[in-house]
Symmetry: C3
């Protein structure tokens, strides 16, 4: 069973550096949550690894790319360790630059939704499934982080700025480019950039998704039943 | 690596329609929980997709049917979107027919435990494992829904009517039929019907499972320790 | 696709007996938590199965050993049922010997981190990945148990005695032995013993992991922001 070659948006070395940067910032968010939840250093490592690598592992299991890249590339494993170590020793300083971390996280979101979609497509999944898996790659680690730490996934919360939607837009752009046989490294870069900018705008202007129509009356009815 | 053909209880087109109906009602339950938890429209979509497709994805990963059917059949992906859209626009009306939704959910439970067992058996798992995976197909989506929404899985709660047990019975009937080389579409249909009726009866008469013997004295001991 | 033979530390029959003993005590911990969370007998079965088998299933999905051993070996499936039945009928007595259960659990931890590392290595994963999967095999079931029961995984909690660390040490010893081509059944047994003793010492002396440096000042800052 020969695997398709892992697709590369850019020069492989640049791609690897970008991947590691994305894993690093995702892992930072995991380690920071571990500190807030009062976990010890090993809890920090577990949450950092799960957040940094979880989305890609789910994607790889679904497309049948086993063992997942996270288990075949030592750099992928060591990067979250580094992030956990940094937060362990320099927690106040890292908290102070949370805003900067969130900007790099937005870049990771853009990068991962594009590379995730591309990898799923290389494994011959159709375009809708590929785009879905691109989004899963980008947001899955954060969901695992929140489930492990017993928080409602911030991805799902109404009171958080849009997070999944920019990833959906980026993944959809990549899928459309594939559909028209027009995907190139430049196109992928633009899709990642759109996601990145859209996420930054959502943070800057506090964009939220709408909740169900006439929800209030519905809840009143539920209250009556109780 | 050629996969075994997906097994069909009925005519493939009827089976597909039934599958989609089951996914639809499971997804409705996910979207309704999203509204109750005050999530936005994207949270509704995520919970609808996870609830409708989650059980089947776990089954397919375990039997090695990758990519899972949910990622190779566009209809499977679109159906939860439709359910989320319906709940988004018509939430009060859908809440009002919750009882009807639960009846259709019971039908989905019956169908999925049978098709799940059948599919696992087609992938050469033994009968106990096949029946277990039939139950996982039927109840897995609901467990993922509750974990994501930070609720104790309703499947596990003592104060909820029996849910997993009817699925266990249906899956066990299918496994027994396979054991005696007597499995047919009619037999599968009967197993699904038994599950459906048993679940309806559990809802109607409030059937609960027993809790551990002498639990009360046990808890008193724990209280003393604290 | 021929799978590598499952590796054996010891004589296969002894290994099987040890595996089942480990699954049994892990399943006991799942069933006991189910009683504490007031779940019914079916919730007890689900938590017992998930706790006893969950870690190995995740490992097998990641290394591509599908269907996982838990679904091809009837004894693996029946053992958690037995554990759930025991706790159901004899809950007060089992609670009374919690300390003894924890000692056997420590033995299971030692055994599983060694067999998990060995199996991943047999599937040609590199040594870091193999050791990681050894730890996942040993602690994964407990994490699934706690997530299903809506508790912060005890593995992650600062106020619990070290649990993952002894498994990490045991898995690392096995990986080092493989690195120096010096792995034998005796070496594996020693690694399991080191894990077992280290876990017992952590329980006896209340060893905890450190939390992030200067966390207090950091939290004060967070409080100011709020």
């Amino acid at each position: 069973m020969t695997s398709p070659p892992t697709p590369h948006l850019f020069d492989p070395e640049i791609q690897q550096a970008l991947d590691l940067a994305g894993i690093f910032v995702f892992a930072i968010s995991g380690a920071l949550l571990a500190v807030r939840k009062n976990l010890d250093v090993f809890g920090m490592v577990v949450l950092a690894e799960a957040t940094g690598l979880g989305g890609g592992v789910i994607r790889d299991l679904i497309i049948g790319a086993v063992p997942p890249a996270a288990f075949t590339n030592l750099g992928y494993f060591l990067t979250p360790l580094l992030a956990a170590g940094l937060v362990f020793f320099l927690h106040p300083q890292v908290e102070r630059i949370t805003r900067a971390v969130m900007v790099v996280d937005a870049a990771g979101l853009g990068l991962f939704c594009v590379t995730g979609t591309t990898k799923a497509h290389a494994y011959h999944l159709d375009l809708t499934a590929s785009a879905t898996l691109g989004v899963v790659s980008a947001v899955g680690g954060g969901v695992i982080r929140d489930v492990l730490a017993q928080e409602v996934p911030s991805l799902l919360r109404w009171d958080r700025d849009l997070y999944a939607v920019p990833a959906m837009v980026g993944a959809a752009i990549v899928a459309l480019l594939f559909h028209f046989h027009a995907f190139t490294g430049v196109g992928g870069g633009i899709a990642a950039l759109v996601t990145f900018v859209m996420r930054l705008l959502a943070m800057r202007y506090g964009w939220h998704g709408p909740r169900a129509w006439r929800r209030r009356s519905a809840r009143a009815e539920v209250a009556q039943e109780i």
